[in-house]
């Protein structure tokens, strides 16, 4: 059987890659991808632990909830990114430093 530790290690590495992307990238879309990587690492942990809960399925169900939440968040975030692009003609978060007027 695959040990639980292996899943957790893969999750931890994915989480750190996501963290690196969020801190270092100069593009809002890539930062969003970093957030998705971190969410996926969390979902992987939920699913790996959910294997030991046959009756209630807590882990798998909350993994499903997290996936749906990620979809909702992404839709709103992308709408915001498009609006920001329309306003500033750039999506570098470091250059967006003004309010609307």
């Amino acid at each position: 059987m695959i040990s639980l530790n292996d899943f957790l290690i893969v999750g931890a590495v994915l989480f750190c890659i996501g963290l690196y992307m969020i801190v270092s990238k100069h593009n809002a879309i890539q930062i969003l991808i970093g957030i998705e990587l971190m969410l996926n690492a969390a979902i992987l942990n939920l699913v790996a632990f959910g294997k030991y809960d046959r009756l209630n399925n807590g882990g798998q169900l909350f993994a499903l909830f997290a996936i749906v939440l990620a979809a909702a968040t992404t839709a709103v975030a992308l709408a915001i990114i498009l609006n920001v692009y329309r306003q500033y003609k750039t999506i570098d978060p470091g250059k967006i430093d003004q309010l609307k007027d």
């Binding site: 059987m1 100069h26 879309i29 996926n40 009756l55 169900l61 979809a71 909702a72 709103v76 692009y85």
Partner: protein, 182 residues
């Protein structure tokens, strides 16, 4: 070493390697398509954790929905972003990326330390779950159980998330609407 273990290592390697490529590449289009591969490999890992329903949902929602959305946003905000990235390339990169690398590396060390200290395979509740036969076995059919639990035990989170989904939908539609003359 069983076949499942070999598959796990292959999938894990693909997921981590493509995620590293996503983090390292300068080309945004390649970045998005490699993210696609990361998501597929993660769905494979979910299957190996005996969560086939979650794996299918992952493919349908992430690959079918989120990735297409990201591609849309990229195409609609296209040329300027590419120019900005091209300018970045000419700068000296490794110094400006060093703090981020340091942060991620140190965080990884902390996380791995915690994982090895916890030693998840010997946790009390996991041992108990195996002893009381509460572990999912490879030939179990979980989809029916998930459906029943979703409609009984987890009905409140289910309703809450449906309301939140509707709020997000209306919000996204409102945000991305063309600005009329104020």
């Amino acid at each position: 070493m069983s076949l499942a273990q070999i598959l796990f290592y292959v999938m894990g390697f693909i997921a981590l390697a493509s995620a590293l490529f996503v983090a390292g590449t300068k080309n945004l289009v390649r970045c998005i398509f490699m993210f696609f591969i990361t998501l597929f490999a993660l769905a494979g890992l979910y299957v190996l954790a005996l969560a086939d329903f979650v794996a299918i949902t992952q493919i349908v929602i992430y690959v079918g929905g989120i990735l297409v959305l990201i591609l849309f946003a990229f195409m609609l905000s296209g040329k300027e972003t590419l120019n900005a990235m091209a300018q970045q390339r000419s700068k000296f990169i490794s110094i400006s990326k060093l703090p981020a690398l340091l942060l991620a590396g140190l965080f990884l060390i902390v996380l791995l330390n915690v994982l090895f200290k916890v030693d998840a395979d010997n946790l009390l509740w996991i041992k108990k779950s195996i002893r009381t036969n509460n572990e999912i076995l490879p030939d179990a059919e979980m989809t029916q159980n998930i459906g029943i639990n979703l409609m009984t035990k987890y009905l409140l989170p289910f309703e809450a998330i449906s309301i939140l989904l509707m709020i997000a939908l209306i919000g996204a539609a409102h945000l991305s609407r063309k600005e009329t003359r104020a």
